[in-house]
């Protein structure tokens, strides 16, 4: 399968030529495939936010390339603009970007900029609100009267309404309560399946990416430290700890049990752990 998005040896230097010069990305090459759920993890300052802003042409690479469907995202002005619609980016704490009088109008901002017909915009607003888990009754309210979690859903709906082929979210669950997190993740998965869109989620919660992502990219100091299925990545628990990341708690417990001589498979979600323990118990009744 051909990747929908690709980066080739991406480098980004902030404030070049000042005392604040900082290389935030240093030779990042990766591919994103249609319909996949990709998790990006890494500790603060590892370059995650910088990386994803390259993927929809908000930042221009210092060197290297971003390819969308095989074509350079910066090849001409028109293509760059289209790229912003095809690759939707939800910033961290997106609730602070709302500005319209009503929720519906705010969600319609993206589709309007795409130049769609009013009926199509209306359909998309309703559909996107549904995907983001917003009840219809809220559509005519002012976004500033909503709760923090609801505002975030409005902002996410505003990007989903552009029907992007790749939806990128920067820490979409930061600062939400556990129920709110689970529900937003659920909404995202539903959107992914309904539209066969690729989802890229930046997170620093291991549990969260482990439970949702089909593939993981670990960033460290502006480079790709690991890239693979969650099982492969978490198998390198020690290496992860060395760059200041922890594996999910159940994984750590199971690694410890294995070190103690129990024959258990590696796991990274609580559900897998439950099944593994039940299977082990059946194999060796006490």
């Amino acid at each position: 399968m051909h990747p929908i998005l690709e980066t080739k040896d991406l480098r980004h230097v902030y404030s070049a030529g000042t005392p604040f010069e900082h290389t935030a990305l240093d030779g990042v090459s990766l591919s994103i495939f249609p319909g996949e759920f990709l998790g990006i993890i890494g500790h603060t300052g590892s370059g995650k936010s910088t990386l994803i802003q390259h993927l929809n042409a908000l930042l221009r690479p210092t060197s290297g390339q971003v390819l969308l469907g095989g074509e350079d995202i910066w090849k001409d002005k028109h293509f760059t603009r289209q790229a912003r619609f095809r690759v939707g980016l939800v910033f961290q704490y997106p609730e602070y970007q709302l500005f319209e009088e009503t929720v519906a109008k705010d969600i319609a901002f993206g589709p309007k900029n795409m130049g769609l017909q009013p009926e199509e915009i209306d359909r998309r607003v309703r559909e996107a609100a549904g995907f983001a888990g917003l009840p219809e009754a809220l559509l005519d309210k002012s976004p500033f009267d909503l709760s923090g979690g609801q505002k975030r859903r409005v902002a996410i709906a505003g990007v989903i309404a552009m029907e992007p082929e790749v939806l990128i979210l920067d820490e979409p669950t930061a600062g939400l309560d556990p129920a709110g997190r689970e529900s937003i993740l659920d909404n995202l998965r539903r959107f992914q399946q309904a539209k066969n869109a690729a989802i890229v989620m930046v997170s620093h919660s291991m549990e969260e990416v482990a439970a949702n992502a089909g593939r993981l990219i670990v960033m460290d100091e502006g480079r790709v430290f690991a890239d693979g299925a969650p099982a492969e990545v978490f198998a390198r628990a020690e290496a992860l700890q060395q760059i200041g990341l922890a594996v999910p708690q159940v994984t750590a417990v199971f690694l410890r049990l294995r070190a103690m001589g129990l024959s258990l498979p590696p796991v990274y979600t609580v559900e897998q752990a439950r099944r593994a323990i039940l299977a082990a118990k059946e194999a060796r009744p006490c």
Binding site: S15, P19, R84, F99, G110
Partner: protein, 267 residues
């Protein structure tokens, strides 16, 4: 684009320019500006320029950074230069249509451009090498005597301190909001004036809301820490005049005196 505006930014460092007492630097800046406006001809300008270059050199601020901060003022500089070029009478060199370029005009334009550039560079050098807190502390101490006249010096300098502190924060915030709206296809570059003004709404509304929210949070945080104005407030860092402060002030005084004397000689 906004990243080019470095007003109020502070580049931490430990050079002698950084370590000077903020009061010294403020007084030096005033002296420098007086000298700059007293300067009249090449010798006096040269002296002031030498003083600026010395300060820049000692501060280790890259001249490129300093010059880049001129960018937002480019239009002002160009217009001032052109006005001086065309509206100074004297010995005519070139004449076309209603324009007339005189020898005196060229010199006046060059000196005026030099003056504005040096004015801005000097001022920026102060904010680049002095943290906002030190700067407002210095200002408050210098203006302290005005408290007797019931001028709210402490309140004013606290306001200035907060404003300086939040310039970079608001810039960053603006950048973030612009990026977020661009990600939704906002277009700030095409269309006529009215359309462009309207395109600013998605930036201004969130920016104002967030500025008010920040102000509110800051006020609460200050109140929680029992802030109640300047009365009886002590400082963490008591500024103190050291030898290098006296030397720098001496140099500043020499500069002003030299420029004043040379000016009377028409240099």
């Amino acid at each position: 684009m906004l990243k080019d505006i470095t007003l109020g930014q502070f580049f931490p460092g430990s050079t002698i320019v950084h370590r000077l007492d903020p009061r010294t630097k403020l007084v030096l800046l005033v002296g420098y500006i007086v000298a700059l406006f007293t300067a009249r001809w090449f010798v006096t300008y040269g002296l002031v320029l030498a003083f600026l270059l010395l300060a820049v050199g000692l501060s280790r601020i890259p001249p490129k950074t300093l010059l880049r901060s001129m960018k937002p003022l480019l239009i002002v500089i160009v217009i001032t230069g052109l006005l001086n070029l065309f509206y100074t009478s004297g010995q005519v060199l070139v004449q076309f249509w209603i324009f007339r370029i005189t020898r005196e005009g060229i010199v006046a334009a060059a000196l005026m451009i030099l003056r504005i550039t040096m004015l801005v560079c000097g001022t920026f050098l102060l904010t680049y090498t002095t943290s906002p807190i030190a700067l407002t502390d210095g200002l408050e101490l210098l203006l302290g005597p005005l408290k007797r006249l019931h001028v709210p010096v402490h309140e004013l300098s606290m306001m200035m301190c907060i404003a300086l502190r939040f310039i970079p924060t608001l810039m960053e915030e603006t950048d973030k909001i612009i990026s977020a709206q661009k990600a939704r296809g906002a277009d700030f570059e095409t269309g006529n004036l009215l359309r462009r003004a309207k395109a600013m709404l998605p930036i201004l509304v969130p920016l104002f809301i967030s500025a008010f929210r920040r102000a509110d949070e800051l006020a609460t945080a200050m109140e929680c820490r029992c802030y109640h104005g300047g009365e009886g407030r002590t400082r963490l860092r008591q500024p103190r005049f050291l030898l290098h402060d006296f030397l720098a002030l001496g140099l500043g005084a020499a500069l002003v005196a030299a420029v004043a004397i040379l000016r009377t000689m028409g240099l």
